[in-house]
Amino acid sequence: MNILIIDVGISNLSSLCNCLNFLGANFKIINNKKDLNNGTHVILPGVGSFDEFIKALDKKDLFESIKYNVLINKLPILGICIGFQALFKKSEEGNLKGLGLLNGEVKKLFLNKKTSFKVPNVGFRRLINFNKKNFFKEIKETDAFYFMHSYACFEITDKYVSCAYSEHNTNFIAALQKKNIFGLQFHPEKSQASGLKLLKKFIEI
């Protein structure tokens, strides 16, 4: 096992590293495409805005090589927060193209005066409408995950994808798996035991 964590320079990696250390996993932080060939798993964590994130990927020459390794070499990838949004084709937040590994569009969460859902969506939330299989096998209805975002994907047109949703004015995709592609809109590294369970599941693939 050799997990590669992609560092684009604007993400908080230390929490994720602390989690992987806790789980006893082997990992390495990388920031160039050369190192991408030696991994068994890749994690794309992120905070920041969509365009800043894509620009940073592009600048490090990682944009195409991530796509290649995921699509051709079937490298398991886990996108977290902006790193998850970057897997989609595009986002309302920016003008640049996303990695396009997932067929969907990231849109802004919206306010509705009649409800108490706010934007940004910050805090711990539960998951709904998921099948307790594969990636979500260990997840309980009572598990809670830490969200910190203003944008999300509401629907995906891919086949063979399993999703877990979270409530907002329109329910959005909180987590998904499409074959070797995994995405989490929330921060597993900030979600205590609930998040550790999912990270563990991913690295055991």
């Binding site: 789980l23 996993a25 934007v119 805090g123 711990f124 921060h187 998040g195």
Partner: protein, 268 residues
């Protein structure tokens, strides 16, 4: 879901208690770890805020403190106090900061505030508004409550939301550290303000009832306490259990047996 936030005030090598913004040394990092087993504590709280109120700021020292705390807990960490550049933010991020707390920057450099929010996203910015209610009017203060802002509460909240803010902490200077309960009166003044992001109340929490009193209000998303002495040991876990009993929508981390915790997560 509602959140319970624990805030640590760090001043020149020590964790301190604050009362009306005057501080008193309590203990250093060794003291903190002795009195709070952070892995256990993090099952009772949902978030932690670490604020550097040092007179002689030493960012590298502060980073070491943040790093030691962040390596032990897997909940969100907000860091604040004297953050006046993107370089500082980068350093703090490296040691575990998930969000940053801004306060004085609103009065000194709104462009930088906007820039931070553009680069990191508005969810990265937590705004702390320090206020006093004087003769039925809310006055906003900054620089450790030493200066009065020229903006009123409505203007401040509207402007910081426009600059890019993910959460707003309303901190009562008069209630700070008194342990007499949160200043609920402030909610009368926020009634007509369009709050687009989560609201956190801070200042005055001394016991469980105060936490309950704040969290039961619909528009209050979280409450924050910096009371270093009243929640020692497993008190937060008990608070969390009591909140759940009283039907407050908080997370129950407590159904996990702490001793089994490490065993569960041994990788196959």
């Amino acid at each position: 879901m509602k959140r319970l936030i624990f805030s640590l005030l760090y001043e020149d090598g020590y964790f301190v208690l604050s009362r009306n913004f005057r501080t008193q040394k309590i203990g250093d990092l060794t003291w903190l770890f002795k009195n709070y087993n952070l892995i256990d504590v993090s099952f009772g709280i949902d978030e932690i805020i670490i604020i550097d109120v040092s007179k002689n700021k030493n960012l590298d020292e502060f980073c070491k403190i943040v790093e030691k705390i962040s390596s032990r807990i897997f909940i969100p960490i907000t860091v604040g106090g004297g953050i006046y550049s993107i370089e500082n933010i980068k350093k703090l991020q490296l040691v575990g900061a998930d969000k940053i707390l801004l306060n004085n920057l609103f009065n000194s450099n709104q462009d930088l505030w906007k820039n931070i929010s553009n680069v990191y996203g508005s969810q990265f910015v937590v705004a702390c508004i320090d206020y006093k209610i004087i003769n039925g009017e809310v006055k906003i203060f900054y620089e450790k409550a030493s200066k009065i802002s020229k903006f009123n509460l409505t203007e401040t909240i509207n402007k910081i939301q426009n600059l890019g803010t993910g959460e707003i902490i309303l901190q009562s200077i008069d209630y700070d550290g008194t342990g007499k309960g949160l200043c609920m009166e402030i909610l009368e003044f926020t009634k007509n303000i369009r709050l687009m992001c989560p609201l956190i109340m801070k200042g005055g929490i001394g016991k469980f009832d105060h936490i309950f009193e704040g969290l039961k209000i619909k528009k209050v998303d979280a409450v924050c306490t910096a009371n270093l002495l009243n929640f020692i040991g497993d008190t937060f876990l008990k608070v969390k259990k009591s909140l759940i009993k009283k039907n407050i929508n908080v997370i129950d981390w407590c159904d996990i047996n702490l001793n089994e915790y490490r065993d569960i997560f041994k990788i196959k």
